[in-house]
Structures are given as structure tokens and as C-alpha cells.
């Protein structure tokens, strides 16, 4: 079974706030986890990927994976109006040919 669950939102926060976006997954065989940002009428843009459990930071973005609880998080610090988009989490087994399993996306709105 391959499922990734994600709250669709919308999630609306004021500019400058810390944003927390979350997903849960059911298959413990997933090894790689990704976050994509998708603006309206555009393709998903890869933000970050992590392997197994742990944290990864890139500028204002931090991705966190807790494999024991099957929980994936993306934190955005000092949020900007340009961060307003749909954020998709995804998981993959890795190391072979297989498609990503996506959450349905969370629509994020940063209010100026």
C-alpha cells in the first residue's frame, strides 16, 4: 500500500510567521522524501529531498522526517508573500524504477 496523507488547507498565515506543513505516510519501505512547491498553472518545483530520518536545511526551509512515526514536515521561516503556493510532499522507495507517491498538496497563503 502506498499512501501519503496531507491536509489540503488552505493554510493562511501573516508575513514573517513560521509555517509548518505536514504529511503522514503508511508504507515503512519509503526511503526518500521530497517537498515540491507548485505555483498556479505551473509544474511542481523540487524544494528539498531527505533520505530516511533526520533534518535538512536550505535557507529559510527545513525538511524533517521522523520514520518512527511516519511523519514528514516542512518548516518555512520568515515567510514571504512569494511563498504562497501549493506544497506537495512525496515519498519514494528509491534505488530503482518506481514513481513518487504524492500527498494531495497544501495550499499556503502568506498574507502581506
Amino acid at each position: 500500500q502506498k499512501e501519503v496523507e496531507q491536509d489540503p488547507g488552505p493554510l493562511s498565515v501573516p508575513e514573517g510567521a513560521i509555517v509548518s506543513l505536514n504529511c503522514t505516510y503508511s508504507n515503512s519501505a519509503f526511503q526518500y522524501f521530497m517537498w515540491y512547491r507548485q505555483y498556479s498553472r505551473k509544474g511542481p518545483e523540487l524544494l528539498m529531498y531527505t533520505y530516511s530520518s533526520g533534518n535538512k536545511e536550505d535557507g529559510r526551509f527545513t525538511a524533517q522526517v521522523d520514520k518512527s512515526s511516519k511523519y514528514i514536515s516542512l518548516f518555512i521561516r520568515d515567510s514571504q508573500p512569494s511563498d504562497s503556493a501549493t506544497y506537495l510532499c512525496a515519498a519514494i522507495f528509491g534505488g530503482g524504477a518506481d514513481g513518487l507517491t504524492f500527498g494531495k498538496g497544501t495550499h499556503l497563503i502568506i498574507q502581506p
Partner: protein, 112 residues
Amino acid sequence: DVKVTQSSRYLVKRTGEKVFLECVQDMDHENMFWYRQDPGLGLRLIYFSYDVKMKEKGDIPEGYSVSREKKERFSLILESASTNQTSMYLCASSSQMNTEAFFGQGTRLTVV
């Protein structure tokens, strides 16, 4: 800069037409994927390919076929377009290690 290019951004086709969606990547990736994205349903995998002339069914292959004659090019074919195939179609590619996937800008197909 990584590049996945889809041949059309917008297409309008008639019911019963045979439709070709083309995707080209310049990253020398082994894996290529076709997804469709619908409101409330998220991204769903149609087909993927891990090598030239190889293809595997994804979660929703019915009504579609694919062709991969060259490593950089992956085509999605709608044999006889129907209105329920109106959707956003997204192509992606990844390396053999399959740890992260890169998407094209998408083709918004309307079948009338």
C-alpha cells in the same frame, strides 16, 4: 540547470481524437514518468519508463499508452480522447538512483 520540457502548455482536442503529449529531458536521466493532476485527487502516476523501449504501468494506465524510443524523450498517447481525460499532464524524470524527480511545466489538456 535541469530541464524537462513538455511540447505544449495548452491543448484542446475533440472526443475520439488520438492525442500525443511529448516530453524531453536534457539530464541524461534513466527514468521518466507521466502523471495527471486533478483537483482533489492530486498527482496520479499513469506510466513510467526506466529505460529506452521499457515501460511500466502506474496507478491509472487505462486509456493511455506511452512510447520511449530515445532516452531523452517520453511520449504519452491518448488513443481515443474522452472528456474525462481533461486534466493537467505532468512529465518528470529522475536518475537511476531515483532519489529526486524533476518536472516539466505541464500540459493542460481539454477534451471537448
